[in-house]
Symmetry: C2
Subunit: 140 residues, 2 copies
């Protein structure tokens, strides 16, 4: 599980410490590769570090997101999900009926983001976006 330890120096650089709890959490996010809810992270990371608690997961995810190691997004019904920032090169398109989801390449939105930035004066519009539609299967 040394794969998670590679983040240690970066964490230190931000004044954060590398604890076994954080190793487990980063490990989960690193190996699943996708976006996970705090509860999902908790359940999976607990297998590696059984004494892990939910408050720790929430605090860690929030902290890591604030320091830009993770990216926070909202998928569907008000649930917060996180994924490793280094994995974030895509967005999501979710079926309103069956909740099937596919990835949208970030390149498809880059031009739009640029346009929005120059039109609005806002900067750093690069957040994760979730679109909703009806997938081919559910179109009957």
């Amino acid at each position: 599980m040394t794969c998670s330890l590679k983040y240690a120096p970066q964490l230190r650089a931000q004044g954060l410490r590398m604890t076994p709890q954080r190793v487990a959490i980063l490990h989960v996010l690193h190996h699943t590769g996708g976006h996970l809810s705090p509860t999902q992270v908790y359940e999976m990371a607990r297998e590696e570090h059984p004494s892990l608690t939910e408050p720790t997961v929430y605090r860690t995810l929030e902290e890591l997101a604030e320091k830009k190691f993770l990216l926070a997004a909202h998928v569907g019904n008000g649930k917060m999900v996180y994924e490793l920032a280094e994995n974030h090169n895509h967005h999501h398109l979710i079926c309103r009926e069956c909740h099937a989801e596919i990835q949208i390449d970030h390149a498809a939105l880059e031009k739009l983001f640029k346009e929005l930035e120059s039109a609005s004066g806002y900067r750093s519009i690069d957040s994760h976006v979730t679109f909703f539609g009806i997938c081919p299967d559910c179109q009957k």
Copy 2:
């Protein structure tokens, strides 16, 4: 407040009844014109119909959204917001720092939606989208 009663025939056409509670809820959504959380709707509509309760607000909003009278979206931290579907001709851009928000005209996204539909096979991609960035003020 007859303005809300104009929806009565449309509701009935969908098998829904027009109650004073629904009048109050529609009234609030109609006159504020923007998106509101269930709690906000509850507090404002209660002034017009004091015996209104939260469960009724949640059930009504969900029902009306399902029947396409309202549009449900997610703004910021996992909070569900609703607005009259007839008002929905825009999207939102919210500042990550101060939460200032501006509207994005739907026209700006129409081309993207078309592209996504033909690329993915998904249909009816027209949902409300919320973007995040840093507003001019917070750029210091």
